[in-house]
């Protein structure tokens, strides 16, 4: 079940927060990879970035799941 988190009385779906967080993390990670020169060995960067975003979102969901309502 998708839980909601109350921020100043506004009930925010936790998936929304996780997505925002994952987007921010992807931005940071791609910037680092860019500086390192990782993309030079990659054929098509957008797909790699997309996959990174999905990984990160999945990871965040897994990590945060124990704190969700179903675990209680």
């Amino acid at each position: 079940m998708i839980g909601e988190i109350s921020i100043f009385g506004v009930f925010v779906p936790s998936l929304l927060l996780l997505t925002l967080l994952a987007l921010a993390l992807t931005g940071i990670l791609t910037a680092v990879l860019q500086i390192v020169g990782f993309y030079r060995i990659i054929a098509y960067r957008p797909l790699v970035d997309l996959a990174l975003f999905i990984f990160l979102l999945g990871l965040l969901v897994l990590v945060s799941a124990p704190f969700g309502p179903t675990a209680a």
């Binding site: 100043f8 009385g9 506004v10 009930f11 925010v12 779906p13 929304l16 997505t19 925002l20 987007l23 931005g27 910037a31 860019q34 500086i35 020169g37 993309y39 030079r40 990659i42 960067r45 957008p46 797909l47 970035d49 997309l50």
Partner: protein, 680 residues
């Protein structure tokens, strides 16, 4: 044909993103999924990096705006008019900040302002829903943004980097051609006007480089390297025009341009034509030319034809700077193209490290006026709506506020709003056809997508053409918002007519208010720009802007803003624009003189200080409407300074001082007779 193919691809991508967003929003079970659909169209842009940066700014702005609505609405819930005032103040404040920014980042503030309106105004009648609506809006926008970023970023992306490479190559080729035009005396009438296009190119480069960190190209150039290239490019315009001016002045003297200098100019010309693009021996050939120019420099003495030698000396010195600037610009271009983040040569590394931040022209007066006009529009509309209890009033007021926010800052705001309205009306008419003739027969999502495809694809292909972008934007707002993209078909003709009337009434009203409050035409904008430039020259002459980089960037930015406005205003835009360039050179030199004052001998410092004070007074007071010539006392002051420097026994100081004073005299008094020792 190529452009058409691109427009078709773009339109297909927009449609795919819209349907994706709609599908996701529906699957989650959100009400008002059309917000997500509209977002995919609003963020859609041809360049992938630009879509992603707009997406980021839109997310930030939406969250900020939703937060503002959540704070404001419950606080003023009992007094609708006060609430409307608070929301309009917030919009005005955001609008003011976004106008001062002038980079793509400004979109964040714009959106923060009108998201609060979009959430807040409908909540005036139903304040209990503000929390739900806020979070709904944030979710829908995020879905739309992610869908648009996904489709535009992943499927056949056109990268900012690619466009940047193309533009840089074109700009360098132009800049080299223009510099060559200054060296050989074959000037066409159009050259001067064309050359000011460089100022516009710089503005474009700045906008493009703002998207760079968000781009999806495999190899991204550093923004700092692009800044360094901008620094070099911005020096080219003043340098080339100085060289041109000195050649003219020398040619007008009795002896003309010396033969060896003419030969050197021809060689520099040839180097710019063929040598500069060639990477292998660029440095060696540039160094040879620099050495040659240095060897030709005369040593100005008090006796003999001083003025002529000063001109020659000034010409050669500026020529050396011009050569070095062209060389550095090409080196930086290679650095930008280089796949490695490391500097390709130590010199390039130095240039990149030195790159300053770009300062832009800001007009607080116009920003405040636009903000106040928007506040006034909303307050007038709200008074009418609340007093008459018009049930569509909230929608009308919010669209009026949004229209003011989007278009109020433009010179031709009223015209833009009219275009937007035509688009909205067309969109609503199309939507009526869909909502009452086609949609009732639609039974599932696939069929809906197929039915919507023709309309949305046509709108998308119009959106791809910059000249008609506003029209398409209007029709997106008109069509998508009213066609009834909800979970179930629930269209009601009375509601449709009411809300459409509200939408059109809001746009018409904002158009009227803009005509009422923002009547300044391009003429007054030009005058404001020119005056702001003069005040900046005065500031620098007083020693107030010692750092030349940002000052120069601001002045050039103003030239870039002036160029298109003058082009539409006058038959011959050459003259006042060239003046802006002269002002730039005067201010630049005045700043250098002012910085040099500490190192001068007392008998030199006195006339120079007087001259600078006179320049500051002249530019601080001048009025663009009367355009007075510079006072004669100023020429006298310059000539006295020249005399003082000519007697200076210290060679380096004499050289530097005379160089600056020659330029100053040529720029301020191009028609004055040659300097003579008797004036001292």
């Amino acid at each position: 044909m190529k452009i058409d193919a691109e427009a078709v691809l773009f339109s297909l991508k927009c449609f795919a993103a819209a349907m994706l967003a709609y599908y996701v929003a529906l699957s989650i079970g959100l009400t008002r999924p059309y917000w997500a659909v509209t977002t995919t169209y609003i963020t859609a842009q041809p360049l992938a990096g630009a879509v992603l940066s707009k997406a980021v700014f839109r997310t930030g702005g939406t969250i900020l705006g939703a937060a503002a609505a959540i704070v404001l609405v419950p606080t003023f819930v009992n007094e609708p008019l006060v609430l409307a005032f608070a929301l309009s103040l917030w919009l005005g404040l955001c609008l003011y900040v976004s106008q001062l920014d002038r980079t793509p980042r400004a979109y964040t503030f714009l959106l923060a302002g009108y998201t609060a309106s979009i959430i807040g105004f409908p909540s005036v009648d139903a304040p209990g829903q503000v929390f739900d609506v806020s979070i709904l809006r944030v979710q829908e926008i995020l879905i739309g943004i992610v869908a648009a970023a996904f489709v535009h970023g992943v499927i056949f992306p056109r990268t900012v980097t690619h466009k940047l490479f193309q533009r840089i190559d074109a700009m360098l080729a132009d800049a080299e051609r223009w510099s060559r035009g200054s060296l050989v005396q074959q000037r066409s009438a159009t050259l001067g006007r064309e050359r000011n296009g460089l100022a516009l190119d710089l503005a474009e480069l700045l906008q493009l480089s703002a998207h760079l960190p968000f781009d999806t190209a495999r190899i991204l150039p550093r923004v700092r390297t692009v800044r360094a290239l901008e620094d070099q490019l911005s020096m080219m315009l003043p340098l080339a025009s100085s060289v041109e001016d000195r050649i003219d002045a020398l040619a007008a003297t009795d002896d003309g341009v010396p033969a060896d200098v003419t030969a050197l100019l021809a060689r520099v010309d040839a180097w710019l034509e063929t040598g500069v693009p060639d990477k292998t021996d660029r440095d060696a050939r540039a160094q040879a030319l620099l050495d040659e120019a240095l060897a030709l420099e005369p040593v100005p003495r008090e006796s003999g034809p001083l003025w002529r030698e000063m001109l020659l000396f000034s010409l050669l010195s500026r020529l050396q700077e011009l050569i070095a600037t062209h060389r550095d610009a090409r080196d930086l271009r290679d650095q930008i193209r280089s796949p490695s983040v490391r500097a390709i040569s130590p010199h390039v590394g130095e240039l990149v490290d030195r790159a300053g931040s770009r300062a832009l022209h800001r007009d607080r007066g116009i920003a405040i006026r636009t903000a106040l006009a928007t506040i006034a529009t909303i307050m007038l509309g709200s008074s009418f709506w609340i007093a008459t209890a018009w049930d569509q009033g909230a929608g009308a007021v919010l669209i009026a506020g949004v229209a003011c926010a989007l278009f109020g800052a433009a010179d031709n705001a009223a015209k833009q709003i009219d275009t937007f309205m035509i688009g909205a009306v067309a969109g609503i008419l199309l939507s009526a056809l869909y909502a009452f003739a086609i949609m009732p027969r639609v039974t599932d999502f696939v069929m809906l997508a197929a039915v919507l495809a023709p309309a949305l694809l046509i709108i998308g292909s119009v959106l791809a053409r910059p000249a008609h972008g506003l029209l398409a934007l209007g029709s997106v707002v008109g069509f998508v918002n009213s066609v009834g993209l909800n979970a179930t078909y629930s269209e009601n003709f009375a509601t449709f007519v009411n809300s459409s009337t509200g939408l059109i009434a809001g746009i018409v009203f904002s158009g009227l208010c803009v005509k009422l409050f923002l009547t300044a035409g391009p003429g007054s904008t030009v005058a404001r720009l020119v005056r702001a430039g003069w005040r900046d020259v005065a500031l620098r002459a007083r020693g107030g802007a010692p750092d030349a980089g940002p000052w120069l960037a601001r002045m050039l930015d103003r030239i870039g803003l002036l160029a298109p406005r003058l082009a539409q205003q006058e038959a011959d835009p050459d003259r006042p624009l060239l003046d802006a360039l002269v002002d730039l050179r005067i201010g630049y030199i005045a700043g250098q003189l002012s910085a040099m004052r500490g190192a001068m001998a007392p008998e030199e410092r006195e006339p120079v200080t007087a001259t600078l004070a006179e320049i500051a007074r002249f530019f601080g007071r001048s009025n663009p409407k009367t355009a007075d010539p510079p006072p004669v006392a100023l020429l006298d002051g310059i000539d006295r300074s020249v005399g003082a420097f000519a007697r200076d026994p210290e060679r380096e100081r004499r050289r530097a001082g005379l160089l600056l004073l020659t330029s100053l005299r040529r720029n301020l008094f191009p028609a004055a007779p040659p300097w003579e020792a008797v004036a001292a």
